[in-house]
């Protein structure tokens, strides 16, 4: 499948330091890609480069056969057919909701423009607020108007900068689902930039991890979660413990048990283990100390201690008051890396 928008080894320097460092990314029609990284990792800069709001110092941005950005070449944002939803929504305070959505539709004749804008508002279930002004809307409503405004031009690509970060926890799930429905029904390629692992895993068809200006890994979320390319990549998508290990004859031995490490030479290594990797075991497991036990509604959060190495597990149940538990490692939630 040909990508509808593609970044090839794009770099951007701020004061001599790379904010984006040879980043490559492909967006496909009808697919939602999440770009996950901590704040300051360069993901918003990459987004702005794609939108044409920021030039590229090296590498190139292509749309189909067309070059959009390259050193010395810059197609203006208004000529890119790329929509964008801003973190602060950036609604125009002097225009009504309907006029905000119709802002980018000036080429259409008036009746058609209004019809289209109303259609988009309907898609985000805000048709009844068409005549309102942005300052009377809640945060979630503003976010949906911003989405409708970007979708109204029927762009080939739509970029969303931290679209859910301004919303409080209660509304977040509902609005996220509604936004995803709208995005999918529009059929554009979408790129969602976020620092929230849960948002990224839940929304994305494809996931890209970014840190220090670099893309660490790309793939489907399950794969990126379970098969991280590095400890840093693992920690972007969720909790992970680093267990010192010794590899002997294709097995990595840690304080919590052994997992298969086929093909890896003997010597020191590091085992990345998700909380799910620590399974309750019967007699076959290893007995470890429970250092702390916290109740978190659906699960218990256990801090385990074995051989001076702490680890974190999420279990449904333990024997109340038990000082030790028996665990074994589930290799599906582990990965073996070189020692640091």
């Amino acid at each position: 499948m040909t990508p509808v928008l593609e970044a090839r080894a794009v770099s951007r320097l701020f004061a001599g330091r790379p904010a984006v460092d040879r980043a490559s990314l492909q967006l496909h029609p009808g697919e939602i890609t999440a770009l996950l990284g901590p704040s300051g990792s360069g993901k918003s800069t990459l987004l702005r480069i794609l939108a044409g709001l920021e030039p590229a110092d090296a590498g190139e941005v292509r749309a189909g056969g067309r070059r959009l950005s390259a050193p010395g070449l810059h197609v203006a944002p208004e000529q890119r057919d790329i929509g964008m939803v801003f973190q602060d929504y950036a609604l125009f305070p002097h225009l009504s909701v309907l006029d905000n959505v119709a802002f980018g539709l000036r080429r259409l004749p008036r009746p058609e423009r209004e019809l289209r804008a109303r259609g988009e508002l309907n898609r985000v279930r805000l048709l009844d607020r068409a005549a309102s002004f942005p300052n009377t809307l809640s945060g979630g409503e503003q976010q949906r108007v911003a989405l409708a405004r970007a979708l109204a031009r029927d762009p080939a690509v739509i970029l969303l900068d931290e679209p859910f970060s301004g919303l409080d926890q209660g509304l977040r799930t509902e609005i996220r689902d509604m936004a995803l429905d709208a995005l999918r029904s529009a059929g554009a390629a979408a790129l969602i930039v976020t620092h929230d692992a849960e948002d990224a895993l839940l929304t994305a068809d494809r996931l890209a991890l970014m840190e220090s200006g670099r893309i660490l890994q790309t793939g489907v979320p399950e794969e990126v979660y379970a098969r991280p390319v590095s400890l840093a990549a693992a920690r972007l998508t969720g909790d992970a413990d680093a267990l010192p290990a010794q590899v002997r004859a294709g097995w990595a031995c840690t304080a919590y048990g052994e997992i298969a490490a086929p093909g890896r030479p003997d010597g020191p290594a590091l085992v990345m283990a998700r909380p799910e990797a620590f399974r309750p075991a019967e007699d076959d497991g290893r007995e470890v100390a429970v250092a702390e036990r916290r109740f978190a509604g659906g699960a218990l959060r256990l801090t385990l201690m074995s051989g001076g190495v702490p680890a974190h597990a999420r279990w449904r149940f333990t024997q109340p008051g038990a000082q030790t538990v028996r665990v074994r490692l589930d290799s599906r939630f582990c990965a073996v890396f070189d020692p640091v």
Binding site: A51, L53, E78, R80, P93, F103, G104
Partner: protein, 550 residues
């Protein structure tokens, strides 16, 4: 006459013309756009006359006032400026403190009415008061009849000028101080109370120190106005550097000497500008709190005193001189054709001057948007420049035009263009203040949203920036309109022969000691200016720092 500066912007004038607007990452797609070029051009237009003045000052001069006289000018200017700084600051700060922090009869009315004296130029105040307190005037006559010695009551002295100009210019301090008191963090006032301060101690130990930068900024504006004043001090017979500039040119015919005096004025004005700027940046730590200020009830006695103080201020700074001038005007039949012509000229010049100035200010504000705004800083230099100095800087091209213009009509038109140039060069910064403040409502991402929605840079300005800042554009237009209406020295120096504005007509009548005749154009001028000033001061009174729409 200069007037109505950045103080009259919507209240929490955020850094206004002087500093960068706080707006995140700079717009990095900076091809040298036509807008940017327009901003640079506008800044160059402002600074050109100042360069000309400097150049002219170092040319060999022929005759001029003696060094002793010049020293006298400088000394009186310094004394006058210092006196007005104290007087205007005292009056303005007390008025603002009363109106913002207390409840007393008429408070709501005084809140906006105390800004109204901005409609009356200082020279109109001088005409009214000096005539009322003249040796042959009604007050002196009454005192003599009562067997009292009236000779201590003299306005045509340096102390008299200090007092009159303090009345004329206190609104600048009032407006900046009011904004500062309104934006002071309520929580720190509350904290002071819980730490054992009485309300009086809260004022002296918290509120006043917090407002000090704003007071300094207001005082600097008042001093800038004082330095630039020509009409009032001339009528009161006080010699200052500005009257020296005008006299060096008109009596001695020496632009070089005028330019040298101008350099001294420019130095003082630059100092005031610096003071004003540092005062402004100091205002930023006044946090905006959502909670309204609690006003102290003053009780019947103190309330009556407060109301009396505000009433007296309004009487002295506007009503008494205006009413006396109206009485005097009744004693003479107006020269109606001349009055009508001067009125039409004033309105025409004010409208044209506003259009040109607003054009330049919009070019600078939009062109410099989101970047280091040095064109705005250059423009603020023009604002600090007294009108007489600006005119001297434009004399060289003016002389050239008079000499080379074949047809007189062409010369007149060129002269008018120069005059408009002088207005614009001086007032662009005054317009820039409110426009810049209005544009802070356009966030960088709104700008970018417009671009990703298919608008070009110019289209985004037209469809987003301009409509969002529309109210600010109106404010700026009214500010400039009133200022041009009141302008005197630059018009006196640069106007084509027989070209009278109301200000010029009033000044000419007054210098001929025909005060009853001067009262007509003076009052007409105030009548034309009071509408816009009323609108602006009501708008300011309604606005609350931090109470804006998102």
């Amino acid at each position: 006459m200069r007037a109505t500066p950045m103080a009259l912007t919507e209240v929490p004038a955020p850094e206004a013309a002087f500093a960068r607007r706080p707006r995140g990452a700079p717009w990095t797609l900076a091809a040298p756009s036509p807008l940017r070029l327009a901003a640079l051009l506008a800044a160059a237009l402002v600074v050109l006359p100042l360069i000309a003045v400097t150049f002219l000052a170092f040319q060999p001069a022929e005759a001029g006032p003696s060094p002793a006289i010049l020293a006298r000018y400088a000394q009186d200017t310094a004394l006058l400026a210092a006196g007005v700084a104290l007087g205007a600051t005292g009056l303005g700060a007390v008025a603002a403190w009363l109106v913002v922090m207390h409840r007393f009869p008429g408070r709501g009315l005084f809140e906006w009415a105390l800004a109204l004296p901005l409609a009356a130029p200082a020279y109109v105040l001088a005409y009214g008061w000096a005539d009322l307190l003249d040796v042959a005037g009604p007050v002196h006559t009454a005192l003599r009849t009562a067997g009292l010695d009236p000779n201590w009551l003299q306005v045509r002295t340096l102390p008299g000028a200090v007092l009159l100009l303090s009345f004329a210019f206190y609104p600048y301090v009032y407006l900046t101080a009011r904004a500062a008191f309104l934006s002071q963090p309520v929580c720190s006032l509350d904290a002071a109370r819980t730490l054992g301060c009485s309300p009086r101690q809260v004022f002296f130990r918290v509120a006043l120190p917090l407002a000090r930068p704003a007071l300094a900024a207001g005082a600097a504006l008042a001093v800038m106005e004082t330095l630039a004043d020509y009409g009032a001090v001339t009528y009161l017979g006080v010699q200052t550097l500005t009257t020296g500039v005008v006299r060096a040119f008109t009596s001695y015919g020496s632009p070089e000497v005028a330019a040298r005096l101008s350099l001294a004025l420019l130095g003082a004005a630059a100092l005031m500008l610096w003071l004003e700027r540092s005062g402004r940046s100091g205002q930023t730590y006044a946090a905006r709190s959502g909670r309204p200020l609690g006003r102290t009830d003053l009780g019947p006695v103190a309330g009556a005193v407060a109301a009396a103080f505000c009433t007296a201020l309004l009487l002295a700074a506007l009503l008494i001189p205006a009413i006396w001038l109206a009485i005097r005007a009744g004693q003479a039949a107006p020269d109606l054709p001349r009055l009508a012509r001067a009125g039409a000229t004033s309105l025409g010049m004010a409208a044209a001057g506003t259009a040109v100035t607003l054009g330049l200010a919009v070019a600078i504000a939009f062109g410099a948007r989101g970047r280091t705004a040095w064109p705005a800083r250059v423009a603020s230099l023009g604002y600090a420049t007294p009108g007489a100095v600006m005119a001297i800087g434009l004399l060289a091209p003016a002389a050239l035009i008079w000499r080379t213009a074949g047809a007189p009509a062409a010369g007149v038109i060129a002269g008018l263009v120069l005059l408009l140039y002088a207005y614009a060069a001086r007032l662009t910064a005054a317009a820039l203040g409110p426009i810049d403040a209005g544009l802070t409502r356009v966030t960088p991402s709104m700008d970018r949203a417009a671009r990703t929605l298919g608008e070009t840079e110019a289209g985004a300005l037209r469809r987003v920036h301009a409509p969002v800042a529309r109210g600010a554009l109106w404010t700026a237009a009214l500010l400039v309109f009133v200022d041009v209406l009141k302008e005197l020295p630059a018009t006196l120096i640069l106007r084509p022969f027989n070209f009278d504005t109301l200000a010029v007509a009033a000044s000419n009548y007054a210098s001929d000691e025909r005060l009853a005749q001067a009262a007509w154009p003076a009052l007409l001028l105030v009548a034309l200016a009071v509408g816009p000033v009323l609108f602006l001061s009501r708008r300011i009174a309604r606005s609350r720092p931090g109470g804006r729409r998102p």
